[in-house]
Amino acid sequence: MTKAAPHFLSDDDLLKRASSGDKDAYGMLYERYLVPIYRYCYFRVSSELDAEDLTEMVFLKAWENLPKKQVQSFRAWLYRIAHNLVVDYLRTRKNSTPLELLEIPTDAQSHPEQAFLNREDGRVLVNAIARLEEQDQEVLVCRFVSQLSHAETAAVLGLNESHVRVLQFRALKKLQALLGGGKQDG
């Protein structure tokens, strides 16, 4: 019997196979989510090295806890693991080294969006997001960096969807204000 080309398998299919011991299937899931999970971690912890460590932990922990039953969304489940690890990590970091934030470039004051493109987009954004409250950070990263749906974001953060909608809007406004492009909304 010929194996179906793994690229055409859905997350659910791969998860089912992986849960029953199919290593190739888990490999495909890993390939699929390595970069997104890394991005999520990076935007949450503002450190390349820590993000690498955390990403690694996410996949190891996921492997260790592969769900036997069907989950609603493997992606949300994986991000939930990442979220928990990041929260743990941030909790321990609070007691140690304070996060050093980059100065936001001056030209961001007038055209914040353009500033992303012009000057170290990712790093500026990471540092700006890091200045927000934790829940705002979480929502922005889930929704816009990781591009999770409202439902998935809600599942990751343990919120309901409507709350996520409200939070994302407010968090964006705060980010905008932080970057000098608008007034802050509480």
């Binding site: 991005r39 690498e52 460590d53 591009q147 980010l175």
Partner: protein, 530 residues
């Protein structure tokens, strides 16, 4: 107003995300909210765009390359617990396997490879053994060791061993002794691994400042110093715990099994965990190791000597003696490297027949006639074909100001070049003829005893400086009696600082802090003995 804007924003955002509308189309639908809405939508899009960062390419590239190279060698493990996997990988020899290319172990290996280097270094400063992340950390280390190749593998092992040292230090500082056995065992495993690699690569003989063997020695001394801080009951508990994990050494064919006498408490009043580990690792009697230790050699020095003896025809004890003579490990390496030189015959050199070794008469005061058994007599080409020059012999002759024929005379009577070097060194130090030292060695049964007889080591050492030679007695070179090897004491200077910082300077041999054993420790079996 804001609530309404939230809904409109959400609608537009979804439409933009799904590609249904452009931002401009959204603005056309809600012109009244344009100013605020457009800025927020563009912000959202920019966040998405700026979020498209990638993990470092260098990590990915190197990890993939390593994975490709090693994949076939990684054993297939069916256990689903990755931590068990880690354990298996770290303890099993690599086996050939060409099972599925992307089995899950490969995934874990890839992960470990991808996120190695600086990330792990940073993590190590935070995760202590009492952390739930600690098994993960050590697991990742094991995986990184598996997928790396030399010389990175040795460097990694040393780096990780250093982490264990830091962890042990913190545990002792916090009096969190429960985790100590695990950390010390982990440290030892890494050290063993590094030592194995060092012996494979032969880097020991390199006289480099970053000689891995010397780094290992320093680490061993650091661990010794750390353990010396332990309360006696904790040290005993640790020793017991480590002993449980240490398999009984299997005697090597052709070698005498370790002496099964009760463990020597010697100068430490109790079994020393590092001594036990070294004895097991190098298959030498524990008593021998502790004999050296109690003579004032640091465990680091003992490691160096044991390790170097694997590359040399000199035994570990002889190397320790050489170190005492030469004063620093740099000099020792230089001399050992001399012995290691490949010997190529030089057909251009001819030797006068009348100066053959058999006719050497420069043996003024040998008290014992040297009569090596025929099978021990060196019958190599250099002894039968006098047109060939033994390069090491020539170098030794030059180094010690004797004739080549003299050196080859000893060599052809069965002495190894290492022993000849020792005798010449002793001769240089004492002013006595080298032949006398060969005779004494024959009589006493080992170079250690000769050294003791000469008073250069042991309790009653005389350290007679030769003319023009100032005995260097520094706090570093000669620890005060109360700081010699005993619980709570720092390791002796030579052990703590094995690298030769003063090449050429003579350092007095370390003395004893406690009365020596009735007899010197048995000489470690070496090569090239007559």
């Amino acid at each position: 107003m804001d609530e309404n804007l939230e809904l409109i924003f959400d609608e537009c955002l979804q439409a933009v995300e799904s590609g249904q509308w452009s931002i401009e189309e959204c603005m056309q639908r809600y012109p009244a909210q344009r100013q605020e809405l457009e800025a927020l939508l563009r912000m959202a899009v920019q966040v998405r765009s700026a979020g498209m960062i990638e993990p470092r390419a260098a990590f990915r590239r190197s990890a993939r390359a390593r994975l490709t190279a090693r994949l076939a060698d990684v054993p297939v493990v069916t256990d689903r617990n990755p931590f068990r996997l880690v354990k298996q990988i770290s303890t099993q020899p690599l086996q050939r396997s060409r099972r599925t290319v992307m089995n899950w172990i490969a995934i874990v290996v890839l992960l470990a490879s991808l996120f190695g280097g600086g990330a792990a270094v940073q993590a190590s400063s935070q995760a202590l053994p009492d952390s739930p992340l600690y098994p993960l950390k050590t697991g990742i280390e094991s995986l990184r060791l598996v997928v790396s190749s030399e010389p990175t593998q040795t460097q990694l092992a040393l780096e990780f061993a250093n982490r264990r040292l830091e962890e042990a230090g913190k545990l002792i500082e916090n009096q969190a002794y429960d985790y100590l056995p695990k950390v010390v065992a982990g440290y030892w495993q890494l050290t063993r691994q590094a030592l194995e690699k060092v012996s494979v690569t032969g880097a020991l003989i390199d006289n480099r400042t970053d000689n891995p063997a010397e780094l290992i020695a320093r680490q061993v001394d650091t661990m010794t110093a750390l353990l010396d801080q332990l309360p006696t009951d904790q040290l005993s508990a640790l020793e017991q715990s480590l002993e449980e994990e240490t398999p009984e050494p299997q005697p090597v064919e052709g070698e005498e099994p370790p002496i099964s006498e009760p463990l020597l408490t010697g100068c430490t009043n109790q079994t020393h965990p590092i001594g036990v580990k070294l004895a097991t690792a190098y298959r030498v009697p524990y008593e021998t190791v502790m004999g050296w230790f109690c003579q004032g050699f640091g465990f680091g020095e003992i490691v160096l000597a044991l390790q170097a003896s694997q590359h040399s025809e000199l035994s570990a004890e002889e190397i320790l003696l050489l170190k005492v003579e030469l004063g620093g490990w740099g000099e020792v390496w230089r001399h050992l490297a001399m012995l290691e030189q490949p010997v190529e015959p030089l057909p251009t050199l001819t030797l006068p027949v009348e100066e053959t070794p058999a006719e050497v008469t420069e043996t003024p005061t040998p008290s014992v006639t040297i009569t090596p058994t025929p099978e021990q007599v060196n019958q190599g080409n250099y002894c039968t074909d006098l047109t060939k020059q033994h390069l090491v012999g020539a170098k030794l002759a030059m180094e010690y100001g004797v004739t080549y024929e003299q050196v080859m005379g000893w060599f052809c009577r069965g002495y190894g070049m290492g022993e000849i070097m020792l005798a010449l060194q002793a001769s240089q130090k004492s002013g006595l003829p080298a032949d006398q030292f060969f005779a004494m060695k024959q009589e006493q049964g080992g170079w250690g005893k000769v050294w003791q007889e000469m008073g250069w080591i042991g309790k009653s050492r005389k350290t007679p400086p030769t003319e023009g030679e100032e005995p260097v007695i520094t706090p570093e070179a000669t620890p005060s009696p109360d700081k010699m090897n005993k619980p709570g004491a720092q390791p002796p200077a030579g052990g703590g600082k094995p690298a030769d910082e003063n090449p050429g300077k003579k350092v007095t041999p370390p003395g004893l802090n406690k009365p020596p054993k009735d007899k010197l420790p048995p000489v470690n079996p070496g090569k090239g003995k007559p």
